[in-house]
Each structure stands twice: as C-alpha cells, then as structure tokens.
Amino acid sequence: MESRETGLCGRLKLKKYVRSYAMILALASIWIIFQAVTQGTFLSIRNISNLFRQMSVVGVLAIGMTVCLIAGNFDLSVGSVTGFLGAVAAWSISGLSQSPMAAVLLAVVIGCLIGCWNGFWIAYAGVPAFIATLGSSLIFKGGLYIVTQGTTIPVRDPFFLTLGQKYLPPALGYLLAGGTLIAFVFFDVRHQSSLSRVLGEQVSYFKRFGRYAGYLLVGAAFVVVMNSYEGIPIAVFVLLGLSGALTFVLAKTRFGRKVYAVGGNPRAARMSGINNAAVCMTTFIIMGGLAGMAGVLQTARLAAATPGAAMGMELDAVASSVIGGVSLAGGSGKVINSVIGALVMASLTNGMSLLNVNSDVQYIVKGLILIVAVWFDVRMRRAQNG
C-alpha cells in the first residue's frame, strides 16, 4: 500500500514537471520559428545574450509580482515606481553626487517604503489592491516627472553603469554555475534522503540523477553560450540571484508557507493564526524593493533615467507571471515559471523586432502568439490532469 502511494506521488511530481515543461515547450517552438524566419539571427549567441539582458528588468518585476500574486494581490504601480526609483537613483548620482552603492541602496530602501505605503492601504485600510496601486501608480508617475523635470537625467558613473551593461568574467560565470549546482545537489540529496526516511521508500536514483544531469545540462549550456559572447550579463546575474533567493523564501521559509496559505484561502489562514495583514504587507515590501532594483537596472542599462521609463511595465510583469502559470486568484505559482514567462514575452518582442515587418503587424502577431502559447500550456496541463 505504502509503496504504491509513494509511487503515485512520484508520478504526480513528474506531472508537475511536465506542467512547467509545457511552457518551455511553447518557448522552444517560438524560438525555433523565429530562428527559421530570421534566418539564424535569433539564436545567434549574441542575440541570446541580448535577449536575456532585455528581459532582466521585467524579469525582476515579474518575480516580485509572483509573490504578490501568490498572496492573492497584485501591484499596478510597479511600472511608475520602477521609473521613479530609477530616476531617484540617477538623480542621487548626478544631482547629489552620491556613490553608486548609495544610489542603489537609496532606490531599494525607498522602494521598500513605497511597498509599505501600498501594503498599508491594502492590508490595513482595506482598500482594494487595484485602487491602492492604481493610485500609487499615478502618484509616482507625478513623482517621476518632478524628479526628472520632464527631461532625461544622464548617468555617467562607470561603476553604476556596470550593473546594466557589463558582464561577469567568464571564469567567474563557470565558478558560480558550478557552485550553485553543487550546493543544489547537496541540499537535494539531503532533502531526498530525509524524504525517503519518512515515506519509507527510496526515491529512484535513476530518476534523481537524470534530473541532476538535466540541470547540469541547462546550466552549462547557459553559461557556455553567455561566455562565448562576453560572459553572463550582470543584470541577468542579478535576476538569477534574486530569483534563487525568492524561490528559497517561498519554498523553504515560514513566511513562504504563509504567503501560499493567505493567497489560497485567506479565511482559513486567519483561522490558523496567520497574520494576513502582515504577510500581505511584506509581499508588497518585497515587491517595492525589487522595483527599486529594477529601476536601478533600467537606469544603468539606458545610462539615463527618462520620464517615460518603465511605463506600463506592470502589465508585462503580471503577464509574465500569468504566462508562467501563476493564478490571479492567488495561492499558487512559482518564481522560476514567471522568469520563463518573462522570457516568453521578451522573445516575442525581440523576435518580432528582428523581423522586418510593420509595427502594426507586429502587434497583431505578438498578440496571437501570446494567446496561442498560453492556450497550448493550458491544454497540456488539462490533458495531464485528465
């Protein structure tokens, strides 16, 4: 009996993988199609590097949005706030002659404070997230125009610009990837063995090492490709680091558990002694801090803060999460899937722009592919769940 059940559990897990693979499959199809129609430019090493750099800002917002969405909320203000904080960072360097570190810190700290503001209205004052964050979006749009005075704030600090424009030295890239993999395998082995201790069954070594091999392959391919261009872009590295950290927070911490509970059934969470308001507040603070980071990356990438920076990016962030299967109803979702979602969005934009078609046609094709890709994903999942 026991063994049958654990076997099933294995199968269920497998299905979960297939679920995230569905969108990866869709992504792969998109890539292959673009590769064909761009006659090889799309998957050129250089363009892959571009692609990842291009997705990094939205990616950082998307992983923050994932946390908000899992807790059953969302944040419409991140576009404005990212623009605002990017401008704040630029202004603290160019206007206040602060050090780049101080600028980054300032953006992130103010971001957290803005998160507090949003969280306060939503969690404690009971204003619907839609209105609270729409209001904030207006407020910080105004703030952005005030900080920039309607013009661009250029940033020349080379160290600051490194964040958006430079690459990790190849050797460091290999080192980091190797280190991450080893750490991961170490913890996974420990985790699995404690699992089998409880469930009284050995998890198949074959399957497990297959999985490790898979990760190794993807990781190695990524680093090799990046390194054969110029190295892992620092912005991409930041995104991956933050994604890793958030994945850990959501999966392995007490707070993470609470986020899923609050989003899944707020009443049940409250009745289990969870402080829903505090959890909700914290998710917005995380989102705010990440918006600060995104603003910094955006400013560093463009070497300037502009009055229109990051406008409308909140929709891209939510879209990335939803493409990655995060439910708007709360309670479910994974950071890594949102990153994949952001990659899908970036691929569409990048691929369409490589193609020499009218921008109106581009909009139409992009809209269609978006719908079809998600539909494919949904269908796969349904077929899996019978």
């Binding site: 201790r197 911490t253 558990r257 899944g264 009443r267 409250r270 009745m271 002694g273 019978g386």
Partner: protein
C-alpha cells in the same frame, strides 16, 4: 417490494490520476425506494454519486449505467438534471453572495416571477419546519442552515431520483427528523432516493435498502431490516467495533478555560451570544448541545477571537486573564478551534496535506524563519497515521481528499500546536464510524493528558456519549447544564427548546 429497477449500474470504475477509487460497481436501485449507501471515509460513495449525476461526465469513468432501462450517458450536470437526477452534494455548493431564494432557484430552468420564487421557497422551508428568511444572503447563514438551503434547492425541482450526500451531517436530531419525514413523503410519491450518511442509526431507521461500499468495492446490498447496527459497522469497516465511546476515566483537574459573561452582537444589533459563562477543566470534555441557530458556533468563535461584531466578556486561561481578540492570539495562548466549515475556514484546498496540517504550528517547525522540512514532514506524517487520513501521500492536495478525510486534516491541524484548550465545532461532520471512534479516543487521550476539550455537536448521541458535562444552549444563552450521569436525549431536548428563561 419488487418494484421495477430504475437505476442499474454495471461495472462502474473510476480513477483519479492513476489511482483507482471505484473498482467496478454493480448495483440496482428500485424505483421509489430509499436506498442508503454507507462506507468508510474515502470508500467512494460520493464519487459514485457524482458519476450518476453527471458531475463526472460520460467518458471520465469506466462501465455504464442505465436509467429506466435506457443507457445513460450524461455529458454534464444539466443533462443528468434533464433526465431527472438531482444531487445535493456533500461539499455544499452555494453562491454566498446571493440570497436564499435565489440559490434555491438557481439553474432550476423555471421561469418564475420573483414573488413566486420567494413564495415557493417559504413553502419548502415551512415543510422543512425551519424559519429561514428567503431574502437573507446565504453568506450569513450557519452550516446547518446552508444545508437546508441545499436541500430546498433539490426539493423545488421535479426529479425522479434524488441523491443526498450526507445531508444530516450538520443537522441536529430535530431538523433531521423533519427531513426524514419529507423523504418518506417523497418516497410515497414514487421518487427514488439515494441516501448517504455516516449516522447509522438514521440509515437503519429510514432506508429500505442498504448498500455497503469498502475501498471502492461493493461488499453488500441488503434490505435494511436484515441489518443491525453492529453488523452494518462490521460490514463497513471489516471488523467489529467494541463500544462506540471510550470510557471516561479521569478526575478533572485544574480549571483551564473559564469564560465570564460572554456576549456577541451582529451588525444588526441582534444578540447571538448572551452573557454566557462556562468553564472547562483539564482532562474534561465538555459538550455544547442545542438546535440549529442556538448560537453555539458564535460562542466558540468568540472564545477563539474569530467572531466579528461587538463582543464583550472575559476569558481566563489557567486562572490568568487572556486577551483573545484574534485567532492568532488564541492560538498563541493555547486555544485551538476546529471550525464547523472546513471548506471556508479550515482548508486551503490547493495546498497539500502536509502544508495544511502544519499551518497552525509553523513557529515550532521552523528555525530562524526557515522551515525544518524533515520535522514538518515527520509531524504531519504522524498525524496522518494517527487519524488514519486516507491520502496518496503528504503531498496530495487536500481538495482531492474525501469529505471525512478533509475533516481529519482540519483536526490534525489543531492537534499539532498542542493546545491547552481544544474546541471542536461539529468535530465528526462527515466522519465514518470507525474513524469517529478513533477521534473520540484521541480526544479522550488528549483530555487525559490535561487538555481541556470543548465540543459543539449536533449529533446528540455523540455529545451524550463523549462529554463529561453537557451545556445546552438556546437563543444565545445556556439554558441547562447536565452531568454525564443526568444527561439523556429528552433532557437535552427539553433545555434546547425551552421557552423564555
């Protein structure tokens, strides 16, 4: 009793993600009978009924069934309804934002003016003998009242076959009796009734035929008078059950919980709880009995800090005053409440068994905020085993559990933080006899370990059998207190229906 067969099931099979839960059920239901279905939690009763009523459409199950001789292939609930099969599901599906009468006539396919719908709703409730305002929003009703709405919903439709999946789990004796009266009336009219319940007494009294399911297989179909309760239990769980309630052994210890002058008002200023005082001692199990709407649920929610509105009164824990203004504080000071509504307030359906069980005790299961996964799994596994929660593993979503097993998960959730006071509102709602006994035993053992246990239950035999002391409520007040020795059904009912003060 040799009426024609209205429903004939041939080799019905069903699996969920590769796990077979029905292994080929053959069954014949005769027209105009009350046919009961019993079996342990997770035996497959609800699943079978969902197949008959089109919830699982044709193609999602194996085997076939015939309605009035014709092969039935429903592609949805609507199709089943058209064919004359109506189900009142175990997990109540009502639209909380809508009013009672709107729910009653939802999807009825009848084009009626509003006043007519209200009128008919009132008539149904009059028949059921409960005063329920047809215009009240369903969200404000207790579980028992919601159950009545669901029943009314089925009654206003003209069905040939009515399926009731544990309709009385949240009803007290008096309300159940009214329902039985109506069911018998329907039987007279030639309507066939399929009836699922874990209250074996009422099954034996009500039904014509009883079918027993075990582990997705049909073990017995017999006329009801060929069964007695012991035999039925043996047939269900495959062994005899010695004694339905564990004996009370202990001498109560110190007073653990003491409530003074607890009152609660709703937004309209109505007193739901009216100056209640009570105390529970370590090692004691105190039961609260009463009819539907007596305010029992509100009382325990007050103690747990979960009742909205104006609350007054004081709570003492182990002789010290405790400020309990939220469930969080309650849990911190050692109070646990297993809510009567597991779906709304108990479970996070999309999370797995482990996450649900550990939800109220995350603190001790983590170090510097990081979850101690091994420990969490160990503890959750312990309770899964101890309560006999039937699941495919700790990582199964609780949505996929049978009703009774979901209830056990809710109980496990509040056992894990090791409370000093454990309150259970309808603790065995939907739990099978075998498991009920295990829960009773568990509660008794907890009491022995010094926990103060307070239970609210509409199942009178349960209150009588389990409690060391019984409080009876009516209109928000405690109208009587009975010791284990004095308590009888009649006395409890006397206090529960007592007029005035």
């Amino acid at each position: 009793m040799s009426a024609e067969v209205i429903l004939k099931l041939c080799g019905i099979k069903k699996e969920f993600s590769g796990v077979r839960v029905l292994h080929g059920i053959d069954l014949a239901v005769r027209s105009g009978e009350i046919h009961a279905l019993v079996g342990e939690n997770g035996a497959g009763k609800s699943t079978l009924m969902k197949i008959l009523s089109g919830v699982y459409p044709a193609g999602e199950y194996g085997g076939e069934f015939f309605l009035k001789g014709a092969k039935a292939r429903f592609h949805g609930i609507k199709a089943a309804q058209r064919a004359g099969i109506e189900i009142i599901a175990q997990e109540l599906e009502l639209v909380l934002q809508m009013r009672v009468y709107e729910n009653v006539f939802l999807g009825s396919g009848q084009k009626l003016p509003e006043s007519e719908m209200i009128d008919r709703t009132m008539k149904v409730f009059r028949r059921l003998g409960i005063p329920l305002d047809p215009l009240a929003p369903v969200g404000g009703l207790g579980v028992g009242q919601r159950q009545m709405v669901a029943i009314a919903k089925a009654l206003v439709k003209e069905a040939d076959v009515l399926i009731f999946d544990e309709p009385t789990a949240a009803l007290s004796e008096a309300e159940s009796q009214k329902l039985f009266f109506i069911l018998r009336e329907l039987r007279e009219k030639g309507i066939t009734i399929l009836y699922i319940s874990h209250r074996l007494g009422e099954v034996l009294a009500l039904s014509d035929t009883i079918t027993v399911l075990r582990d997705g297989r049909l073990v017995e179909t017999r006329l009801a008078d060929r069964f007695d309760e012991g035999g039925l239990i043996a047939c269900m769980i495959g062994r005899e059950l010695c004694g339905r309630f564990p004996p009370a052994l202990c001498e109560p210890g110190e007073e653990v919980l003491s409530v003074r002058g607890m009152s609660a008002q709703d937004s309209a200023g109505r007193r739901l709880v009216d100056g209640v005082s009570l105390s529970v001692r370590a090692g004691e199990i105190v039961g609260i009995a009463g009819l539907m709407g007596a305010g029992r649920t509100e009382l325990v929610r007050c103690i747990f800090g979960a009742q909205p509105g104006r609350i007054s009164g004081e709570i003492m824990l182990c002789g010290r005053p405790a400020a309990v203004s939220s469930p969080r504080e309650a849990i911190r000071s050692g109070i646990g409440l297993v809510s009567e509504d597991r779906k709304l307030e108990g479970l996070v359906g999309m999370l797995d068994v482990m996450q649900n069980i550990t939800m109220a005790g995350l603190g001790p299961l983590s170090l510097h905020g990081v979850m101690l996964d091994g420990e969490a799994r160990r503890q959750a596994g312990y309770y899964v085993e101890k309560l006999g929660i039937r699941c495919t593993g700790l990582y199964q979503r609780v949505e996929g559990l049978s009703g009774g097993n979901q209830q056990k998960v809710c109980i496990a959730k509040f056992l894990l933080p090791k409370p000093r006071v454990l309150i259970l509102d309808e603790p065995t709602r939907g739990v099978d006899v075998g498991a009920k006994y295990e829960i009773y035993e568990l509660l008794r053992r907890l009491a022995l370990e010094g926990v103060a246990v307070l239970i609210v239950s509409s199942d009178l035999p349960e209150v009588l059998g389990l409690s060391d002391r019984i409080l009876v409520m009516k209109d928000g007040r405690i109208t009587g207190e009975l010791s284990r020795q004095e308590a009888t059904q009649e006395r409890v009912m006397y206090y529960a229906t007592m007029e005035g003060n």
